[in-house]
């Protein structure tokens, strides 16, 4: 087919324009501002003053603990969420009565109908002295403290991000060609082996997508550590909030956020290379 006239191209351009414009105005321009700020210095009363210095980057180790906390808890939280989400998605896609499927999927998403903040407040009560620890002390485990510890943050992460992890895994399991499982069983594989060598690899793209969504959000989170960590579990997000709104050291804040962007960029690149790339090769079809 020959593409006559510029018309379709104009149409393509017109359709893409809003997204490109949004991308340029809302992402690239602010990013540029951040890059410029990162080389500046704090104005005497706070904010930004023009300068060219690497001090803000050299000072990054002063927030080392925040980077370490984030880079430990975000992957662990993502992993836990995936481990808990997988059986749910598996049940919904393969085991559940189809007439209930939509209802149950909606229920998985239902927590999103309430403000995230209110739900974290509920968790503060649940994990506080009169909540789970009180029940545990009845069972003979006195003085267990959960709220304002990394455990509370992990519980909050799993709870908060489960609804983002289940759907992608569900979708990849639902697409699973059941004949592959029959074939596997015909060829003598035990159910466990079929699961490990057929189902799991085929579901991996969904797990990878879900994990990426959750990981990115967790890396930038500050409400979760603030509320369930009580200011004692300090993430990069919390460091940024403090730098921009409390000490108003915008240039240092810009440098910290650039470091976060860089870490995310590299992590995601590596991740895509190994997980997404790897699973792509294993994709098989019967026909």
């Amino acid at each position: 087919m020959t593409r006559s006239a510029g018309r379709p191209q104009i149409l393509t351009a017109a359709l893409l324009a809003p997204a490109v414009l949004l991308f340029a105005v809302m992402l690239l321009a602010p990013l540029l501002v951040i890059v410029v700020f990162a080389f500046g210095e704090r104005a005497p009363a706070g904010g930004y003053a023009a300068a060219f210095t690497f001090d803000n980057f050299l000072n990054l180790p002063a927030r080392g603990k925040a980077f370490i906390n984030t880079l430990t808890l975000a992957p662990i939280g993502t992993l836990l969420t995936a481990v808990i989400a997988f059986p749910v998605a598996y049940f919904l896609a393969l085991r559940c009565d189809p007439k209930w499927r939509v209802t149950l999927l909606v229920l998985v998403m239902a927590p999103f109908w309430t403000s995230q903040l209110l739900r974290y407040y509920a968790w503060i009560m649940l994990l506080g002295a009169k909540g789970v620890p009180a029940w545990l002390s009845y069972l003979g485990f006195p003085d267990i403290r959960i709220i304002n510890t990394p455990w509370a943050v992990l519980i909050g992460a799993v709870y908060g991000y489960l609804p983002l992890m289940v759907p992608p895994i569900y979708v990849s399991l639902e697409k699973l060609d059941k004949r592959l499982l029959e074939a596997s069983s015909d060829l003598g594989a035990t159910p466990l082996r079929s699961f490990l060598q057929v189902t799991l690899p085929l579901a991996l793209p969904g797990v990878a997508t879900g994990a990426m969504l959750v990981f990115i959000l967790l890396m930038g989170d500050y409400i979760l550590p603030q509320y369930l960590g009580g200011g004692k579990v300090f993430f990069i997000g919390n460091a940024l909030v403090d730098l921009f709104l409390q000490s108003r050291n915008w240039p240092y804040g810009a440098a910290v956020s650039l470091a976060l962007v860089a870490i995310m960029f590299v992590t995601i690149l590596v991740y895509m290379r190994f997980v997404l790339g790897g699973s792509g090769q294993r994709r098989v079809a019967l026909v």
Binding site: A45, A62, R145, G231, L245, N249
Partner: protein, 383 residues
């Protein structure tokens, strides 16, 4: 002064939540003083501030009012709207730094906001507020105000802000949970690292947290001396593992029993005692902070006429008395105090004896803006 977590401003979520929580003002308390409420209503027609006046006639549009959580009486705002037709948008903030950051970034659309004493000179220097023309506030009488609470609103003879209320920053502890009866900041920090380990909270606010750590050593609340600040930092970092949390929203954890002791502002202490009398409020012997909050008008206020009308209305003694009973912080206006129930005036938390007040210090502008303090707080939180 901050009353809520510091990260808020960043998030509108929290604003919403605070409004939701604002129900903390007890109805019971209001019923107790219904006599006054009724009187105010009856007097309404006779009180200049309540009667639709000529000055209000030309008002329209909206008023953007930025304040702190649980810090106003909703019925006063509703009545203002009813009398003037001006709709009020309330936004609540967690700290002076956040308000400053927002105003510095520009285009807030705020008309009236509530800065604390030590922030006013910074706002003025940064050209973010406008001078107040007292002629446009007929219901505000500078002569009936306690002078030390108006002082920091006046710079070089010009009024930049008028006083809203005042309070202290001490600490509160649960006397049922703790065997000791602390009375000093020294005991506060020693108990934190001992009997009360894992049960103590400090504000997510450098001014009060560092200030009260400085008091442990007997230094000034406002110290900006690097050596003294260094000692305070060492104490804070030592205490960190023993803290339950670093959060200016400490009431829920105290009520739930997770925390036993917390740095605390007057109004919160009053609200806590209302429901749980076992909470003791301590103005430490070494001193600590005394503060006052003000009303100020932003430089670029979109609706300055409504801003003046609002401040004039809210500082009318009859109206202000309703405010005081709602938020639990005393007014510096003697005319207002006459209208506040005696039980409130007799409450030593609200109106401490002169000898308890004398060692207290007003926070200084340099204390708020000192970058070293900000960095120490950040290191403490990240530790």
């Amino acid at each position: 002064m901050t009353k809520q977590p510091d990260f808020i401003p960043t998030s509108k979520f929290l604003d919403e939540l605070r409004r939701y929580q604002k129900g903390s003002v007890s109805r019971r308390h209001f019923l107790g003083v219904t006599g006054l409420g009724m009187a105010a209503a009856v007097l309404g027609g006779a009180v200049p501030g309540l009667r639709p006046r000529k000055a209000y006639a030309g008002l329209s549009g909206t008023l953007n009012f930025t304040t702190w959580p649980s810090y106003f009486a909703q019925e006063n705002l509703d009545n203002f709207t009813k009398n003037t037709g001006v709709k009020i948008n309330v936004a609540v903030f967690g700290s002076n730094e956040e308000m400053l950051a927002k105003l510095q970034a520009g285009s807030t659309g705020w008309d009236v906001f509530v800065p604390t004493n030590y922030a006013i000179s910074t706002y003025k220097d940064l050209n973010l507020i406008q001078p107040i023309d007292l002629a446009r506030l007929p219901n505000y009488d500078p002569a009936t105000q306690e002078q030390r609470f108006t002082a920091e609103g006046i710079i070089d003879g010009q009024v930049w802000a008028v006083p809203k209320d005042w309070g202290t920053t001490g600490y509160t502890y649960n006397s049922k949970a703790m065997s000791q009866k602390p009375t000093t900041w020294k005991e506060f920090w020693d108990l934190t690292r001992n009997e009360a380990t894992g049960r103590v909270m400090v504000h997510d606010y450098q001014l009060t947290t560092i200030g009260n750590a400085l008091k442990y050593f007997g230094y000034s609340f406002n110290s900006n001396d690097p050596k003294e600040l260094g000692e305070a930092e060492k104490l804070l970092i030592e205490a960190k593992p023993h803290l339950f949390g670093i959060n200016s929203d400490y009431k829920p954890s105290l009520i739930a029993g997770d925390a036993w002791m917390s740095v605390c502002w007057t109004g919160d202490a009053v609200q806590l005692q209302r429901d749980m009398p076992e909470f003791v409020y301590v103005l430490a012997k070494e001193g600590g902070e005394i503060w006052s909050d003000f009303y100020a008008i932003t430089k670029d206020a979109p609706n300055p006429d409504a801003a003046y009308a609002f401040i004039d209305y809210i500082l009318t003694p009859q109206i202000n008395a309703v405010e005081v009973q709602a938020h639990g912080y005393p007014s510096p206006d003697s005319r207002t105090n006459k209208l506040v129930p005696k039980e409130m005036l007799d409450n030593p938390v609200l109106y401490p004896a002169a000898e308890a007040l004398s060692p207290l210090e007003f926070g200084a502008a340099a204390t708020l803006t000192n970058p070293l303090r900000a960095e120490i707080m950040a290191r403490f939180k990240a530790a």
